[in-house]
């Protein structure tokens, strides 16, 4: 969940750039990480260290898991030049569908899970159709979708609250994986942490080698090693914290798998590159053989499935489906993507950025909540944070805004 260099797009070595430009590039690239660290430090202070307690670390992951899942889909939609206002409604709809299937129709939990992801995908496909083939701007389609799917959720579940969901289903949202041993930090969690660190270090070294092979300057090895050490330390510390509380949250596992998978999708596959191309200049992309409509359609189907997954996880975590489930999540997901460096005009952004952005917002909320600030102030602060982050980003990158 850190912006390790490996997840950014391959615009790295810039031979012969000035010191000024080099500094700016560092800020560009690591501003989010710097901001995250800053936020952590500030709130560690104001909460008198509660922020960093093992239990709170675990809470943070679980509390923000579903928003981060949404943020992944959202940043892709935004990179493709669209927006999706309907994710909260689709999450609510899919969560309600899962609960009704399991409780009312006694469908096994995993079938219900799959069906509700399908429902999300269909909802996304519905919207994708209008965006891609009827050429209705995504803002309008998803505004309509937000109303439609919220209405359908209320129609589906009414004022009933469906609770008492099957154990394994609840485990998805609220479960922890561990050896189950009574004393000391959980060894499984620790082991996984070490494995991840080993993976990252290995991969970094391999890609550094490859870059050198192409005759590029690989950058200062001191920075390289320092970066690796910092990232490794952070991950080890995180896994130690989790191990000391209850083990690895299931949500975190889902999140890591999605984060890595979608990062690879966006940076290393044709479809990912086409998403960036469509978002930054649709016409040029079309004339380069990119099937822009398919890309649009894919983005919304994908967002629908991820929204459904988030909805399922919320439902599982609360052990309850309600007609209002997921309300307002679109705003948090959008905020995460923008705080994480995506641009309204499309073409810019990254999965890692969105995750860090979402986590930053999550930590701020968590910190304020521990400090006992009222939710009204939390809202206000969230608004101010989003504004300042994006303004800083714009100022920093000197990006030209197209609209």
């Amino acid at each position: 969940m850190t912006t390790s260099g490996t997840t950014t797009r391959p615009t790295t070595a810039q031979p012969g750039e000035t010191l000024f430009a080099r500094g700016a590039r560092f800020l560009n690239r690591y501003s989010m990480a710097v901001a995250l660290v800053l936020v952590v430090v500030v709130f560690a202070f104001t909460t008198k260290g509660i922020l960093l307690r093992d239990q709170n670390i675990s809470n943070l992951v679980v509390q923000n898991g579903y928003i981060l899942i949404l943020a992944i889909g959202m940043v892709m939609v935004i990179i493709g030049g669209h927006i999706d206002l309907s994710v909260g409604s689709i999450a609510g709809f899919a969560g309600a569908a899962a609960a009704i299937l399991m409780v009312q129709y006694e469908v096994p939990w995993w079938i219900a899970l799959i069906l509700s992801l399908v429902v999300g995908g269909l909802a996304g496909a519905f919207q994708g159709f209008w965006v891609a083939y009827a050429k209705v701007p995504s803002f309008i389609v998803t505004l309509a979708g937000m109303l439609i799917f919220r209405g359908l959720t209320i129609a589906l579940i009414g004022a009933r609250n469906i609770g008492n969901l099957p154990e394994p289903f609840v485990f998805l949202g609220a479960g922890y994986v561990s050896t189950g041993a009574e004393s000391g930090p959980d060894l499984l969690t620790l082991a996984i942490g070490v494995l991840i660190v080993a993976g990252i270090v290995g991969w970094q070294i391999v890609s550094r080698r490859r870059r050198t092979r192409h005759g590029e300057k690989p950058g200062n090895p001191v920075y390289f090693i320092a970066g690796l050490v910092v990232v490794s330390a952070a991950i080890l510390w995180l896994s130690y914290s989790l191990a000391s509380f209850r083990g690895l949250p299931v949500v975190l596992i889902i999140l890591v798998v999605l984060g890595v998978g979608y990062t690879v999708l966006m940076t290393r596959t044709v479809i990912g590159r086409h998403i960036y191309a469509v978002g930054s200049n649709r016409q040029t992309a079309q004339l380069s053989g990119v099937k822009d409509r398919r890309i649009d359609f894919f983005l919304f189907v994908n967002m629908g499935v991820l929204a459904a997954l988030a909805g399922v996880i919320i439902t599982a975590r609360l052990n309850l489906a309600t007609s209002g489930g997921g309300t307002g999540l679109e705003l948090e997901a959008i905020a995460a993507a923008f705080v994480g460096g995506a641009a309204v005009a499309g073409g810019t952004g990254s999965i890692a950025g969105a995750l860090v952005g979402g986590l930053t917002i999550g930590i701020i909320n968590n910190g304020m909540s521990i400090m006992g600030l009222g939710t009204q102030w939390q809202q206000t602060v969230l608004g101010v944070v989003v504004l300042l982050f994006v303004a800083f980003d714009i100022w920093n990158k000197g990006r030209r805004i197209r609209r």
């Binding site: 239990q55 609770g163 008492n164 009222g374």
Partner: protein, 351 residues
Amino acid sequence: VGLTGCSADDGAGASGGTVGILMPGVQSVRWQIEADTMTKGFEERGYDTAVQFANDDAPTQVQQMEDMITQGVNALIVVAVDVQSLGGPLADAKAADIPILSYTRLLSDTDAVDYYTTFDYKAYGAASGHSILSALGVEDADGNPTGEKGPFSIEIVNGSPTDSVAYDMWAGYEETLQPYVDEGVLTIPSGQSTFDQSSTLNWTGEGAQSRMENIITSTYSDGTKLDAVWVPFDGMTRGVIAALKSSGIQPGTDAWPVLPGGDGELDSIKSILAGEQYSSAWIDVITLANGAVTIVSDVLDGGDWPEPDTTTDNNAIEVPTTLSPVVNVTKDNVQEVLVDSGFYTAQELGL
């Protein structure tokens, strides 16, 4: 449990500990009043409080409870946004030996609840129903049928379809008014008689107002008399009043219907005194809140939970329960119920 780092370190308590108070949201005045009352009460007993309002959003409340447990509160008073959704953090709290008081809304499907002090929302809805019945003379003051055959026309303005509380109140309607509707003593001329047809998204006054205006237009603009509107919440009653007025029906005239409400909000009590609203279902939230303070402080001081009036099944265990009565405030008993108890001052009410 380690009890470091309490949030409220303004020194007032020289603290014996912190009590976490979880409230659903600020859309209704009473939660604020109760939170304030509790904070004051606990301060007097030497405890700090940490209060959170959840914006009527269940996930937010889960998060707030988790954060409070992390923070190390010594006791929890919980008004759930959604009574089933807090199972996870409640289990954590129980594991951490934190006493849990379920306040006004019963936390269900969990064994992690020690005690329940309440009134119930069904009684709330029923109070509104009884108001209508007695005002129309269908029932006498003691709630016995008078044999009055009507027929009287009523309309329904329900709470939000997204909120289970609305359903509880609706149960009160079904208990009190539905039998007379079935008999034909009461009629619903608009035909909008189901919960879904009569619901008001998010309990808003605007929503109640628009819907009422449309009903008046469609059903009562031909001069049909509207005798009563069943509304369980003051905020919506105000919308109904605005709708009636804008349709040219004036308070004080014969055409003005019986309008109940709920929560005893200050402006609505003024409305009752002005003869616009008929009644407001009210529970003495200050007494209820102070009762909660006493119970929890006693437990924190090392005492036991008090003898309950009864127990209530929450789908997991039988929870010890004390009940507070619901009172119907009308013009006649405002002084007695609200002023004498100190809930409002006479000056506030313009008495």
